[in-house]
């Protein structure tokens, strides 16, 4: 299994454990993709999952830079416009996952940007 979907599965497990309800995975438009869309009570959460196998280039979540944040905001806008979800508020989370042979590290940043 590729690293990306392996990480996203791990993220989903974490969210479910935390009581989130997964609404959609890999919501894909022409210009990008939202990894996970989930409900946390009445808040709709757009989740970006970043998976890495080593820390050579820094923490996984550090890779969510300004341009990526802007793209996610645009994607979220279109999602809300099309699906009109029944949510009271919205937010963005980032989950950084480190996967290698001996251990997995998951860092969940709520309301990241």
């Amino acid at each position: 299994m590729p690293l990306k979907s392996q990480g996203e599965d791990l993220a989903c497990q974490l969210l479910l454990k935390k009581g989130f309800k997964i609404f959609e995975r890999n919501y894909r438009l022409k210009f990008g993709e939202i990894d996970i869309i989930a409900f946390n009570k009445k808040t709709l959460v757009f989740v970006e999952v970043k998976t890495r196998s080593n820390k050579k280039y820094g923490e996984p979540f550090e890779a969510v830079n300004i341009s990526k944040q802007k793209r996610l905001k645009k994607l979220a806008d279109s999602f809300i416009a099309f699906h009109k979800p029944q949510a009271e508020s919205f937010r963005f989370d980032v989950i950084g996952i480190l996967v290698n042979e001996d251990r997995t590290e998951i860092i969940h940043i709520e309301n990241a940007f």
Binding site: E59, V64, I109
Partner: protein, 506 residues
Amino acid sequence: MIAKLESATLYGLEAIKVEVEADISTGLPAFNIVGLPDTVVQESRERVRSSIRNSEFEFPLKRITINLAPADIKKEGPSFDLPIALASLAAFKVISHHNLKKYLIVGELSLNGEIRRVNGAISLAICAKNEKKEGIIIPFDNAREAAIVDGVKVIPVKTLREVVDFLNDKIIIEPQKTDLKSIFTSNTDFGIDFSDIKGQEHAKRALEVATAGGHNVLMIGPPGSGKTMLARRIPTILPDLTLNEAIETTKVYSVAGILASNTSLILTRPFRSPHHTISYAGLVGGGHFPKPGEISLSHNGVLFLDEFPEFSKSVLQVLRQPLEDGYVTISRASTALTYPSKFVLIAAMNPCPCGHSGDRLKECVCTPIKVQQYRNKISGPLMDRMDICVEVPRLTKEELSGNLSGEPSSSIKERIQKARIKQQERFYERNIVLNAQMRAKEIKEFCSLSPSAKSLLENAVDKFALSARAYDRILKVARTIADLVNSENIELGHIAEAIQYRTSLK
């Protein structure tokens, strides 16, 4: 976790207290600075990050927000590096908070955690004193300058690590001490002297009167007659700076960033001679955050403008107001700042483009119109502000080859010093120090004329069509001439000398 400490920013010659707050919160890692920082302050993020890492502290991957309050004043310059780094470290709980509030903290950081000098140390130290801080933490290179300010501990620091250990009470840093007496007894050797100049007794006398009372001088003469030579020797007869004047002058140099490293005070009166290609901003000060110009750098000293008519006309016009007021206010979109500019203007020029009009030996080749055009470059109002106009003629061959050396600077200086003391006593608690700075009230009070002197002056006003300003200025010069011979009243001879200084060239 939030941490707070106090720093200061320069606002003209004064420093204003600035609170530096650091907050750490969860979220994607970010390091933001808010509170109207300029580009240099924004860039301090990179310096702070590197110097913290290179000082072997951890820089956590958290969301760090720095706030500089009050938020409506533009923050300028690199002096916030150290406060920002310390506020962040305090927010990371590397530094205990109890010492932070005691000090005002300034300093620029280099990437390896060393602390570099900042501008305006003396103003910053005064701010620390006014804010009733126990001390100021300041770069090592600035310590001697800051230590001039009495009543505040000056903690000289070299590296970020050292500051952290100091604030955590792990090490003790001895406050910098300065012995004012030993500073003021040091003597300067100029290497030049008024006795080098042969002849030109008239011009020397004029310069003596000018320096004694702070009057402006215009020297006119053919090339090579010694105008520049005379001007260069003015510093040798300038009276010593008083402590307050020295502090004022040092402040200006420090804020302009041209005070030499490890200097405590400027002890000689400044003598500035800018080239005639100078822009108006260079002369009166300017820039986005206005910096002091040449007229402020010659505060309490002499501004010498050689080749006076070669300066661009607009540049000379901007001199008019500061000459009258003794300060200059520079307004820009971001701020309006006031710098002091109490200087003596000494200007030198040729009488005509070829330089030989009125010369005894060489014939002038300029047409009258050319001469007129040349002289018109100095506008009437500016000419009106020149109290003393003096001709510096070509020397005769007897004067040139003669062995007669002039009076040495030291004895001229002695007379000037005496005249200045007399003025100081006269203007005690009046906020002025020199005859040239007298206002209408003081002129009325101190420039009483003998009846014969009065009638001479009235005749001169009629005959030469002198302006009201010229009238007042003649009185001021006459007052100085009287002071030089220690005379209480202005006598006929004094007023006559003052009148001829003004009218000899018109």
